[in-house]
Symmetry: C2
Subunit: 212 residues, 2 copies
């Protein structure tokens, strides 16, 4: 319960708890359906504290998206899919890793910024851009491996590393939509399997499911 100091103004306890509550509640109910009061109660703070840390609900949305970008960047940076020596193996390991973390409750694995941006893309450019930065920034972390894989396998075609990286994110976002619509997370697994198969085919690499 350390109080924030002038040198560490971002470390306010209430601010962090509000951001954590926003992450969980917005993933479950969406941005608009999440009220400031609800957030305050979940975080165990008062409304005065909320508006001390955030100018408005929209400012909280932007901060939540930025924090999401930070935490996911750290999470994926430490994930084991970077270990293989071969860049293509790293790309495939990324897809496998994304599939492996789709488990448990939908709120636990779905994407905060993908959920938010669908709601606010027209009404709040600030939140929309923060969500876009998170999604496209994450996509960009895949580019180097895809690029290296293209070079090492001599693969070219009517597509780019950046474009394929973005496509992986589209498949993942779409997989979440289908999982929610069908209330069944194996629908998401299915699309990630197709994504893996696509990448293997792009790189002329057996997918282990050829007819015997």
């Amino acid at each position: 319960m350390t109080r924030p100091t002038k040198r560490n103004p971002e470390r306010g306890d209430a601010r962090t708890r509000l951001l954590d509550a926003a992450r969980d509640t917005i993933r479950r109910s969406g941005y608009t359906a999440t009220s400031v009061d609800e957030l305050c109660e979940a975080a165990g703070v008062t409304k005065g504290s909320f508006f001390h840390h955030f100018r408005s609900k929209e400012a909280l949305g932007v901060a939540a998206a930025r924090r999401w970008a930070e935490t996911t960047t750290a999470f994926f940076a430490e994930a084991p899919y970077h270990l293989p020596d071969d860049p293509l193996e790293r790309v495939l390991a990324y897809v496998a890793f994304r599939k492996s973390i789709i488990a448990g409750d939908i709120e636990a694995f779905s994407c905060l910024v993908g959920t938010m941006v669908q709601e606010v893309h027209a009404s709040s450019p600030a939140i929309r851009d923060a969500c876009g930065d998170s999604i496209f920034g994450h996509a960009a972390t895949l580019e180097a491996d895809i690029e290296a894989a293209m070079r090492s396998r001599g693969v070219t075609g009517g597509w780019t590393a950046a474009g394929l990286a973005r496509h992986t994110q589209a498949v993942i976002q779409g997989a979440f939509v289908l999982a929610k619509a069908g209330n069944d997370l194996t629908l998401a697994h299915e699309s990630l399997d197709h994504l893996e198969r696509y990448i293997r085919l792009l790189f002329n690499c057996s997918d282990g499911s050829e007819p015997t």
Copy 2:
């Protein structure tokens, strides 16, 4: 402006206008951010009329999703992608058709039920299921062509026609999310190009972009 009759109770003018307003407004702002008053004003009806036709806002959401399923079913049934004799060509023509209708404003081409289900999947099972029926019902219309293509080309693998049909919908939904996040509809085109390439590769069919 024919008034509805007892024999034709679904044809009420106000009801139809409310459903049209719901389609447009929810696609732009989302379900929760769309108020009943706003809908009434957009449809040019009063609140009494709204609650005469719909028991609740949730009931309107369900009706809007069902109507979306009906209108999209009719729209795609009449689309030209069914014309080719070869089933694989029909599947590819479907993807090309989906790409071609992604133009203009995001609200004009994005998916009502995909937007809604992200928001309400946890809070309203009724709307969620209606959205699911729309998405998976549409996916099912692709199964026969995919199945026929698999048979005619002798393609097998660790996937099914139904699964690939669902995956196409995941890619399309994800493409909408990225288009909204980047405020750029060409991001959606890009993912549909990858989907087309995937299908061609699955069926051992040149994608016209081999190195020369």
